[in-house]
Symmetry: C2
Subunit: 426 residues, 2 copies
Amino acid sequence: MNIPRTSYPRVVIIGGGFAGIALAKKLSKQEVQVVLLDKNNYHTFQPLLYQVSTGGLEPDSIAYPIRKVLKDFPNFYFRLANVEAIDSEKNKVKTNIGNLKFDYLVIASGSVTNYFGNTDIEKHSMAMKTIPQSLNLRSLILENFEDALLTSDLNERNALMNFVIVGGGPTGVELAGALAEIKKGILPKDYPDLDTRLAQIHVVQSGDCILKGMSAKASQKAEDFLEKLGVNIWKNVRVTNYDGKTVTTDTDLTFETATLIWAAGVKGATIKGLDSRDFITKGHRIIVNAFSQVKGFNHIFAIGDVACMITKNFPDGLPMMAQPAIQQGEQLGGNLLSIIEKKPLKPFTYKDKGAMATIGRNKAVVDLKKWKFQGVFAWYVWMFVHLFFLIGFRNRMVVFVNWVYNYVRFDREARLIIRPFKKRNP
Amino acid sequence: MNIPRTSYPRVVIIGGGFAGIALAKKLSKQEVQVVLLDKNNYHTFQPLLYQVSTGGLEPDSIAYPIRKVLKDFPNFYFRLANVEAIDSEKNKVKTNIGNLKFDYLVIASGSVTNYFGNTDIEKHSMAMKTIPQSLNLRSLILENFEDALLTSDLNERNALMNFVIVGGGPTGVELAGALAEIKKGILPKDYPDLDTRLAQIHVVQSGDCILKGMSAKASQKAEDFLEKLGVNIWKNVRVTNYDGKTVTTDTDLTFETATLIWAAGVKGATIKGLDSRDFITKGHRIIVNAFSQVKGFNHIFAIGDVACMITKNFPDGLPMMAQPAIQQGEQLGGNLLSIIEKKPLKPFTYKDKGAMATIGRNKAVVDLKKWKFQGVFAWYVWMFVHLFFLIGFRNRMVVFVNWVYNYVRFDREARLIIRPFKKRNP
């Protein structure tokens, strides 16, 4: 990779997610050369992917060009690259566009869907971790309803109109709520010649509650909200397989569906060279100390979803969410400069800002440290926080316009099959 | 196709473009059953496709769900279908989802890119007639600059940064202007490690002027605007081939480029069964009379780009633009009802509302019947008219927000490679 060597130490950041971008911003005007590598030329605002899948938002308004984030920073380089391996002995990363030496390496590669080794589910189910995946799901949902019109086989029609979401975390809950609102508000008008009341939305949760990471109150209220919207919640049921038609579980329960959405887990997006057992713990995450350093290295770090930092309150590692990622990125920015200037490092302390999830129109749950609330006000807080954390003024404006429009009109106009998924070109 | 027969006569419309939608709206509350067929579930606002290709607008804001247009109309059916053939003897259309009988058939299938038989150009060039094509071009432009960073071969780098647009019609002119603005305003900031001054934009025009259909004044002014923006215009030059690397012409001129955009012509999207010489004229258009009737039929019609309606002022047929399409759709709506009610038909008269094209920021040309003007005011008129003709309040709002943002910030934030084109998955 033809990036000039300067007298500044070179920091290579793998990944332009919340963690990588927060770190880059912190290093923006310092005496370091920063090379940011990402396989996309944009940052994805993952918390709103489910709204892309359900036609509520355009994909472009939750994506932001990484080059634009970096454009005013001197000594910054971006390369569109897939990182294939890390050579920690020679201080080198191998990518599809060549090798790159580093003085400091920060792995901020995020997480990928975890199928727990089930290849059938991986093959037949839909995931929602990236913008293309979310657009594929959007297309599939709409194609299913178009196809439902064409069949006279009642079982097939029902399977096309049934949606099984595996996983009752924020992604599953938010998606289920959005689908329920589409069923109620849009399908009857869009498909007058189809009995869309028969459409079913199922959430299958292996544990005994949804939104496990949140308070009992939030979990219960989210369940109430979903049930009010007509979503079927199946607790203590574990999905065991899916062949593209039938979902089997560890109980007698089965589902016939053309659409299984797998939101049951993620794992760290580890990279060859640092993925041996020495470094990796539960959930394929890289064990790091309080300075985000990978075991055995002073100059290799991991932050965000891919890093497993254990604290007193989080013995399994900090949650794989935006907040820890952003805070770790910012903290590491300061520490990297301290290392270079040979000053003492500051250990990371997590400021738990709470958690929130939206279920639908006027329905959200918010857990703050000292205050837990649900309903309309929570929904406004949820929207405000998400607008605030979106990168870019234009994105905020466009998302805001869409939300106001969708709210006032009970509508979601991005119900477009731009690139068909089922009938995609081979 | 399982569409119930009622006592109302059935009108089948092929295509949900400007013509088809205008007709559908006209028939909305009449005693006819309408079946609209389209291969997409959305209407495309084609005049703004070039802004999608150049990152100025999101694709979703120039697309509109067809089902939403029809949702309040009783007796309306939409089917997502590719029409494969027309059987004019049995009054039947054949589609990929089954056959459909009609009482009245309206062909509003629009136009497709015309490569004039050159398969090399068809294979290697980019077109911009659909949203997926426009997104492909957006990806390719951005991928080219990412790749330009990686090569040390100066010729290759230049080829990656050169853009050759064939055709000096509105599409070619508007795209060239937008690319020139990107070169000036965005590339230097996004690619500080690349000498983007070397990027070249060429417009190759076989005739002796650009914007041929417009006034001499508009044509000259558009040329001045483009030259001011640094676009190279080559007149009286005909592109003869492109092998993916080198563009050859009928002169000594050749271009080395990784991107050839073919905006040199369109042809009617005719359909098997009505595509024999009896019906078709220059540009693969279906000859129709002043009632939009196809020769030899009282109940089969063609409107919009695919129809060739000859008038006194337009001996080669009305131009393939939105205005004739919309007016023909509306007119045919009235005439169809007259036919059913056995009333006399009204011949179509074209209300020429003029033409316009935008070249860039504050630079547009407008030809009205009695007034031709260019520059800043023309640019405002252009924007106003395009906002007005966009379908949907949300789309208008989002486009408006984007335009204001882009204007104030000299920016285009949708420079996102959501689906790579060069490195697309096989």
